[in-house]
Amino acid sequence: MARNGKEKAPSSGAASPAHLRRHEWVAVLGAAARSRRGAIGALLALSVVAVAVIGPFVAPHSSTEFVTSAFTGPSGRSLLGSDGLGRDVLSRVLFGGWLLLLMAAVATALGAIIGTALGITAAYFRGTFDGLIMRAVDIFLAFPQIVFALLLLSVAGPKLWLVVIAVGISHVPQVARVIRSASLDICEKDYVKAVELLRIKPRKIIVGDILPNLVTPLMVEVGLRFTWSIVIIAGLSFIGFGLQPPAPNWGLMLNENRIGLVSNPWAVVVPAVLVAVLTVGTNTFTDAIARVSIGVERPVGDEVFLGVATLETEK
C-alpha cells in the first residue's frame, strides 16, 4: 500500500486520448521521437541505416574491384582512399552495412520472441516450470554473449545462419529475465487476479491481459537487444568469425585495415564511426523510450500534482 494507506490517483492531467491507447506502441514511439534525446538518437540511427540501405545503389565502384594501390589516401577517384587490396573504401563502406543490419534484426527478433514467450510463461505459471526456466537461464547467462557465439561457431565455422542463431539464442536469457520480472509485477496486480477468478484460459489471459501491459518494457528490451546484436555481429566479423573476406562488412573492415592505419586512417575510421554512430543512436533512442510513459499507473507521492512534464519522467 502506498504511503498513507491511500494510493492517490496518478497524475492524469495529460489523460491520454482514447485512440492513442489502442496502438500504444505507436504512441510511445512518437513520444520518444519528440523528446530531445529521442530525436537525436533516431536521427543518428536512421542516417546510418540510410547509408547502409541506400549505399549499394549509389556506390561509385564495386566492393571488390581494384581501384588504386594499397592504402593510398583520398583522391578524386577514391574519395576515402583505398584499403589493403586497393579497393575503394567508400564503395566498400556503402556495401558493408545492409547485411549487418539484416542479421542483427533477425537475431534480435529471434531472441525477443523466444525470450518473451519464456519469460511470460515462467512468470504466469510459476512453480516448477518457472524454476526450470530460470535454472536454464542461469546456465546460459554464465556465458558472455560473444563467448557463447564463439562456442557455437567453433566447430561448424562461421556460417552466417549459425551466427544469427547463435546471437539470437544468446539474447534469450536476458530477455527472459527482464520480461519475467515485468510480468511478475503484472501477474500480482489485482486486475489479473480479477480475470483469473473468471476461470478464463491462461493463454487468453496472457495474450489479452498481460501482454498489452508489457509494451513499454518490451520495446525497451528490443531496442537494447538490437544495439547488442549489432555490436556482437560486427564484433564477430571483427575477429574473423562473421562474414569472411572478400565480403564488405564494417566489422571486418575495421580489422583488416588496421595494418594500414597510418597510411590511410579513413579505412578504419569510417566504418568505426558508422558502427559507433549507429549503436549510440539506437541506444539513445531506447533510452528515450524508457523515459516515456503514457498514463502508466504511478501513485503520485502525496497530492502534489506536477502539471509539467506529463510524459517525461526525469530521473
Binding site: 535454472r135 546456465i139 564484433g235 549503436t279
Partner: protein, 349 residues
C-alpha cells in the same frame, strides 16, 4: 555496454531469502547469510556442471565435427576417420563427455590440437595475465564510476551532471573494439605515439613487469565500464536522495553533505556492489575483443586463437574457466549485497 535502463540491480530476492532461512533451520545453521552462501555454492556447482554439458554439446554435437575442422582442406574421408579414432571421436557422446569431465576433475584438461602441448599449461599463464587486466580495469573503473556517480547525483542537473550523463550515454553504446581502436589511434598510432599498439609480453613474464604493455588495454576496458557504473551509481544515489528518509533528514536540519554521505550512501551500497560485480562480469566478455586488438596474451585472445585453429580442448577449458568465473563472481556479489542490506540480513523480530 549498452544497458541504458536505470533499473537498479536488485538485491537477492525475497524468495531466495526465505529459502535460505528454511535451509538454515534444516541444517541448523544459525545465520541466514551463511545458509545462503552454502545454498548458492551448491547451486553454483550444479550450474557449472550443467554448463559443462552445454559446452561439450556445443563442441561435439553441432554439425561438422572436430576432426573435419582440424583437417580443414585436407579432409578426405579416410584421413577424417583416422583422426576421429585418434581423438576418440568415434565413441558415443556420453562416453566422450565422461572422459573429458573426469579429466577435468583430475586437473587434466587434455592436449591442444594446435600444438600438442597440455592445455592447462597454455591457459594458466594467460589466466593470470587476463586476471591482472580485469582487476586493474575493475578497480580503476569502479573508483571512477562510483566517484563520478555520487558527484553527479549530489549536484543533480548541474553542469557536471548534464555533461557526464550525455557523455556516458554515448560512450556506453560504443562497442569495445571501437573504443580499443580509438585508444590505439589516439595514443599509439596516429595522434600520439607514446604507447605500444601491441602488448608484447614474453611468455612466462608477468604483466606488471611490462607496464607500458598493459596501459592501453586497461584504458580501453576502463572506458568501456565507467559509463555503466557511473549511470547505475547516479541512479542509485538519486533514488536514495529522493527518498522519504533523506527528506526527513533534511527536515531535521541535516546539512547537505550529511544527507549524501550519512543517509543516502549506505542505502546505495547494495546496488553499487551489484553493478560493480556486473561490470567485472562484463569484462570477462570484453577482454575477448580487447585482447585480440592488442594481441595481449590473455584468455580472450587465447580463445580467439583456439577457435581459429579449431582447438577444441583449449576452447572447452577457456570457456569453462570463464563460466566458472561468472558463476562464483555472481555468488560473491549477491552475498556482499545481502550483507550490506540490513533489511535482508536481519529478519523482523
Amino acid at each position: 555496454m549498452s544497458t541504458t535502463i536505470d533499473t537498479l540491480a536488485r538485491p537477492p530476492s525475497e524468495g531466495q531469502f526465505h529459502a535460505a532461512r528454511r535451509w538454515s533451520r534444516r541444517f541448523e545453521l544459525s545465520h541466514p547469510v551463511s545458509a545462503m552462501v552454502v545454498r548458492r555454492l551448491i547451486t553454483g556447482i550444479l550450474t557449472l556442471f550443467l554448463v559443462t554439458i552445454v559446452i561439450f554439446a556445443a563442441t561435439a554435437v553441432l554439425p561438422g565435427n572436430a576432426a573435419q575442422a582440424v583437417l580443414g582442406r585436407n579432409a578426405t574421408p579416410d584421413r577424417v576417420k583416422i583422426l576421429e579414432k585418434q581423438l576418440h571421436l568415434d565413441r558415443p557422446a556420453v562416453v566422450q563427455y565422461w572422459t573429458w569431465i573426469s579429466g577435468v576433475f583430475h586437473g587434466q584438461f587434455g592436449v591442444s590440437l594446435a600444438n600438442g602441448q597440455a592445455v592447462s599449461s597454455i591457459v594458466k599463464g594467460r589466466i593470470i595475465n587476463s586476471a591482472v587486466l580485469v582487476l586493474l580495469a575493475g578497480v580503476i573503473g569502479s573508483v571512477l564510476g562510483v566517484g563520478l556517480g555520487v558527484l553527479a547525483a549530489a549536484r543533480r542537473d548541474g553542469w557536471l551532471d548534464n555533461i557526464l550523463s550525455v557523455v556516458s550515454l554515448a560512450v556506453t553504446a560504443l562497442p569495445e573494439y571501437v573504443v580499443a581502436m580509438a585508444v590505439v589511434m589516439l595514443f599509439a598510432s596516429l595522434v600520439f605515439h607514446v604507447l605500444p599498439a601491441v602488448s608484447v609480453i614474453p611468455p612466462g613474464a608477468t604483466p606488471w613487469s611490462q607496464p607500458s604493455a598493459i596501459v592501453l588495454p586497461v584504458m580501453a576496458l576502463v572506458i568501456v565500464i565507467v559509463p555503466y557504473i557511473f549511470r547505475m551509481m547516479r541512479g542509485a544515489m538519486v533514488e536514495a536522495l529522493e527518498s522519504d528518509y533523506v527528506e526527513m533528514a533534511r527536515l531535521k536540519g541535516s546539512p547537505r553533505w550529511r544527507q549524501v554521505l550519512v543517509h543516502a550512501l549506505p542505502n546505495s551500497i547494495a546496488p553499487t556492489i551489484q553493478v560493480i560485480g556486473l561490470s567485472i562480469l562484463y569484462l570477462a566478455g570484453g577482454i575477448v575483443v580487447v585482447e585480440y586488438v592488442f594481441a595481449f596474451p590473455g584468455v580472450g585472445a587465447g580463445l580467439v586463437d583456439a577457435v581459429s585453429a579449431r582447438d577444441i580442448p583449449t576452447i572447452q577449458l577457456i570457456v569453462l574457466v570463464l563460466a566458472a568465473f561468472y558463476v562464483f563472481m555472481n555468488i560473491a556479489t549477491d552475498v556482499i549485497a545481502l550483507v550490506a542490506t540490513p533489511r535482508r540480513r536481519l529478519p523482523r523480530s
